[in-house]
Symmetry: C2
Amino acid sequence: MTREVILYGLGSMGQRIARLALERGYRIAGAIDLDRAKAGQPLSRVLGLPKGTCDATVSDDAASVLAATTGAVVLQATSSFLAQVAGPIAHCLEQGHDVISIAEEMTFPAAASPETADRLNRIAAQHGVRLLGTGVNPGFAMDMLVLALTVPCGRVDYILATRTNDLSDFGPTVLTGQGVGLSPDEFHSAVADGRVVGHVGFDQSVALIARHLGWKIDRVEETRTPIMSTVTRATDHLTITTGQVAGCLHCMKAFVDGREVLHLEHPQQIRPDLEAQATSDRIIITGDQAIDMVIAPEIGGGAGTAAAAVNAIEYLACTAPGLIHLTDLPLNSPRALTA
Amino acid sequence: MTREVILYGLGSMGQRIARLALERGYRIAGAIDLDRAKAGQPLSRVLGLPKGTCDATVSDDAASVLAATTGAVVLQATSSFLAQVAGPIAHCLEQGHDVISIAEEMTFPAAASPETADRLNRIAAQHGVRLLGTGVNPGFAMDMLVLALTVPCGRVDYILATRTNDLSDFGPTVLTGQGVGLSPDEFHSAVADGRVVGHVGFDQSVALIARHLGWKIDRVEETRTPIMSTVTRATDHLTITTGQVAGCLHCMKAFVDGREVLHLEHPQQIRPDLEAQATSDRIIITGDQAIDMVIAPEIGGGAGTAAAAVNAIEYLACTAPGLIHLTDLPLNSPRALTA
């Protein structure tokens, strides 16, 4: 039987998820967004779809939408951080709904807060429902795809995963978080006081990989380095010149018994093409195999995260109720529905 | 608790599997090979390992070895074909052992014989044990890795997977099966009478992908084309000249509702480097993503198949007893043992 879906969060990513869920034939049982501009509007209008594509109306009253049905799958897309999504997610679980969240920290919530992860696991188990975090990064490009490539490996000595992308389509919020347009000095201050965060999700990727391979990580090293531009780079949102920061090279290294075993690097910048840098996902694994994988250009993050969320719906039932990790499931491929 | 392992078949692949299983800390509860030259010898000598590495002795009496213990995992490496492995596998299952087989047709036995697959499933379920087929190809390079790359896809329109490898290390048996050294006319006759088989496993790869994506395949088209050499190519085993066959380009296309959705192509030849052909695994997926993945050189088949077999041990328990497919399991990564 085709599952009913509740959309929770209709920002840019939530809208992509909504459109894909409709395209794939899921019935929308409810749509929640706290934005007053969206509340009360037909979902089809918010999604830019023809009138009548679906009959849901967006509501800012989460409690009523969640109570109106039970046994649905909530697709949650509101924030990157566990602290911000844990409350709303607990509410969904208590109402008897499964939850798939694209909050970056939800792909391995214990890496952000073991207590919160435990609490959500208990609530989900108690109510006989499942909770899963997914997305492209974390959730695929720098962790699940890495693990897929370890399948033909008898021994893994070292993993390097590099995701090089282009931020040119993003607006001020994203660009500020990567330090685009700052001077080198300003960049370092902004890292120090938390205005430049780089990528959210390395802790989750490291935890997913380490747990699946049975690695006990001693420590991680994290660096955020400015990517300096040596040319003028322009996007629709801003222009930077030589000597200004084009983005942030965020890296994390993880160590087992004092030895570096995992290196994740994620340079995020505007217009890398102007300095002859192609965008790509690259994964190198050494051990008894020597694997060098390149996907160029890189896997699309927006479309990929929406797909990961919608694809996961059909795989929730593969495990017992509680907090699920992607590593516990079969590959979450897009599965044709048997309605 | 660390599982006990029984080795069934100690040819080239069986020996690789045996060495890796020992390296990974599994206890060898028995070793079976019907070759009189190996029977009665210490396993360590057959494997070329120092005396005392393990205390098993190779036996050609399968019934006794299988009856001497119960609840082990049999790692089976004797033949590519279901018809040849089904009997021995049934025997292992009836003795209460799980079985992991690298027989190509065992990755999706129903594609070779639905009746035999059903029968093995019933026997396994009846005895509360599990049966899994795995390997690099089929089992990974042209199916599970393809499916891994569909995870960030909301819609998959078309898949092309190409595995280009080098047969130069192989001896006469393998080279004959690919038609190496024949004239074009001889090649076509050898395909017609079954002496040139090309790759074994396309039916299994198509079935794994189709079942996981929910595709109903109308029909497949299969071609075996000679790869003609335009230079002299030499290996330790033979030398061919211009106008002779260097190998076999084996292709399979699969159609859904009359539309081609999947194209697998596997050119296998000696010394592709002499005509500037790099070896690689390449996967292209079109749909709402445009994914172009290259692994160069290609994933090692021998090491990869041994790893796939040994890695699978820890994942058998993830599903109910019976015939298992790789698509039902979490990623079979090498997992550190918790002995």
